[in-house]
Subunit: 304 residues, 2 copies
C-alpha cells in the first residue's frame, strides 16, 4: 500500500483532539468528547445518561483464531468498563457488525451468543443494531453503542484529581495478552459502584491503553502531575514493571482520592472484594511535576 | 478469497432475524430490534428515547472518489432519516471511525467537517466517539450511534398498518445513484413531524433499500398485504418504474393512513411543503393478498 507521507494520520490522542475541537454540541450535553463516556442530561429523567461507542477491528483487536463467543463478550465488556469508570450502570446496547462476504455464518452466531451471555451477566439490553457487508477479505468490525445511567452526585469524571490525592489501581497490570486476561476480563462494575457509594474517587478512568498512556490523560484532564512509585505496581504473573506500564488492555480502574481517605478504603476493601488487590501506586502533584516521565502504551495510529 | 460454501451468510433480513431472536432485553425497552429505531422508556423522562446505529462501509456505501464532506453528511443523514421515520427528533450522536493506516488525515478532517455541518443543520449534538486503526487497504468504516426523542402519542411504528389504509410516499423514487440524490438528500424530518401532528400515519418507515424490499417489511410487521398501483409511482427524472422499486437509497417516507384522511392530507400538503410530491401509491390489503408480488431491492448479503 502507498502511504501518504505528507498527510499521515497523527497519533491517536492528537487525532481525536483535532477532530473533536469545536464540534457542535447539544444543550443537553453535560460532558462531551474527552472522557470515558459522554454524559447527557435528559429532561425530566431521574438520572444522567451515559453514552459510549467502542469498536473492535479484526487484525487489530482480535483474530479468527480466537473464540468468536469470547470476542463478542469482550466487545461488550470494553464498553461496560467505560460505563463503570464513570460510576454508572449499563442500560441498552446496539450492535453494529461489518461482515466480509466470505465470513461463515456460524462465526457470527457464536459472536452473538457471547454478546448475549455477557449482556445478561451485566444487565444490558440488546436493543437492536445494524449489519453491513464488506468486500471479501476486509476485517470484521464490531461496533457497540451503549447507554448507561448514573446519579448526578455519583458521576466521576477524569478531571477531578487534586494535588495530594493518592493514586490507586484495582487488580493487576501487564501481560494481559499472553495470560488471556484481555479476552476474559470482567469489567469493574461492582467495584466502581461500591467506590462511588463508600469512597467516592475524585477522578477515575479505566486502563485500556496502559498506565503509561492513560495516567498522563487523567493528569492532563485535571491539569495536575503525578509521582508514581514503580515498585508498588501490582504485576500480573509474568509481567515486568515495564509491561505493567505499557502492555495495555488491563481494564482495571485507575482512580484518585483524598489522602485522608486511603486508610479507611484499604481497610474496608478486602471485606467487599476478597482476593482482588487494591494498590496505592503514587500521588497527584502540581502540573509540570511528572515523576517519572511516561511514554509508550498503546497508540492505534503509531507508525508500525 | 475462499468462500464458505457450506455456511454462508444468509440474506440480510434472515440474517438479522436469526441473530436478534431471543436477545436479552432490558425492562426499559419499549421497542427492540426490527423497527427503524429502538424505543427506550427512561424513568422520569418527559419523552421516549429513540436509539439507532447505522454504518457506512467504503466500497459498499461510498468510495474515495466522492467528497469526504458529502460522505460525512450522508452518514449522519441516514441515521436522522430513521429517527424521522418514527416521528421523532434527533438528539446526540457518537461517531466511530475505522481508519486504515494509509488514509490521509485531510480526508478525515473533511469527513468531520461534513458531519459537523450536517449536525448543525439537523440539531444534532456530536457528543464524542471512537477511532480505531485498521490494516492498510481495509475499507474505511463510519458508524453512527444516534439518540432521538419522541412524545409517546406521536411515535409511529412499522407495524400499525390496517386493512384499507392508503399507502403514501413522499418525494420521488429511483435513480438515486446517477442523480446524486443518495449523497445529498435531506432527511424528511420536518415532513414526518408535521405528519404526526396533523395526519398521524398508522405505520411509517424510511425507504432505504427500495420499495420492493421495504414495503414487504412494513407489511410483514403489520401482518397485512398490499395492492400497489405501479402507474402512480413518483419517478425521479431518468428512472423507470422498475428502478423506482429496486434502486434503493431514496430516503423518502413510506407511510399508511386511514382512507378517510387522505383527501384532507392531499389538500393540506402543498401548503406545508410546496414543491415536494406526495403520492398515494396503493392500499393495504389482508395478509396474503400481495399485488404485485415484489422482489429485488438492495440486499447487503445477496450473492454478488
Amino acid at each position: 500500500m502507498k502511504k501518504s507521507r505528507t498527510d499521515p494520520l497523527p497519533p491517536e490522542d492528537e487525532l481525536v483532539a483535532r477532530l473533536t475541537r469545536g464540534l457542535p454540541s447539544s444543550a443537553r450535553t453535560h460532558i462531551g468528547p474527552g472522557d470515558d463516556c459522554a454524559i447527557i442530561r435528559i429532561p425530566g429523567a431521574d438520572l444522567l445518561q451515559l453514552f459510549k461507542a467502542d469498536a473492535m477491528v479484526e487484525k487489530v483487536h482480535f483474530n479468527r483464531a480466537m473464540s468468536p463467543a469470547a470476542v463478542g463478550r469482550k466487545a461488550l465488556a470494553r464498553a461496560v468498563s467505560d460505563i463503570a469508570s464513570m460510576g454508572g450502570s449499563p442500560c441498552e446496547a446496539l450492535i453494529t457488525l461489518v461482515l466480509p462476504a466470505d465470513l461463515p455464518f456460524s462465526w457470527v452466531e457464536a459472536l452473538y451468543a457471547g454478546l448475549s451471555q455477557a449482556a445478561v451477566l451485566w444487565g444490558v439490553g440488546l436493543a437492536g443494531g445494524e449489519t453491513s457487508s464488506a468486500p471479501p477479505g476486509a476485517p470484521v468490525v464490531i461496533s457497540i453503542a451503549l447507554t448507561g445511567e448514573v446519579r448526578e452526585k455519583d458521576a466521576v469524571l477524569r478531571c477531578g484529581a487534586a494535588e495530594g490525592d493518592c493514586l490507586v489501581v484495582t487488580g493487576q497490570l501487564g501481560n494481559s495478552f499472553a495470560s488471556g486476561w484481555h479476552l476474559n476480563f470482567t469489567p469493574r462494575l461492582r467495584e466502581a459502584q461500591w467506590l462511588v457509594q463508600h469512597y467516592p474517587p475524585t477522578a477515575m478512568m479505566d486502563l485500556s491503553d496502559g498506565l503509561a498512556r492513560d495516567l498522563p490523560r487523567l493528569a492532563a484532564a485535571g491539569k495536575v502531575g503525578w509521582e508514581l512509585d514503580l515498585s508498588s505496581l501490582p504485576l500480573r504473573e509474568g509481567a515486568t514493571p515495564a509491561q505493567a506500564l505499557t502492555d495495555g488492555e488491563d481494564y482495571e480502574l485507575l482512580f484518585t482520592l483524598p489522602e485522608a481517605r486511603w486508610a479507611g478504603l484499604a481497610k474496608a476493601w478486602p471485606g467487599a472484594f476478597r482476593g482482588l488487590p487494591l494498590s496505592r501506586i503514587g500521588r497527584i502533584t502540581p502540573a509540570g511535576h511528572r515523576q517519572p516521565e511516561l511514554s509508550g502504551g498503546w497508540d492505534h495510529f503509531a507508525p508500525g
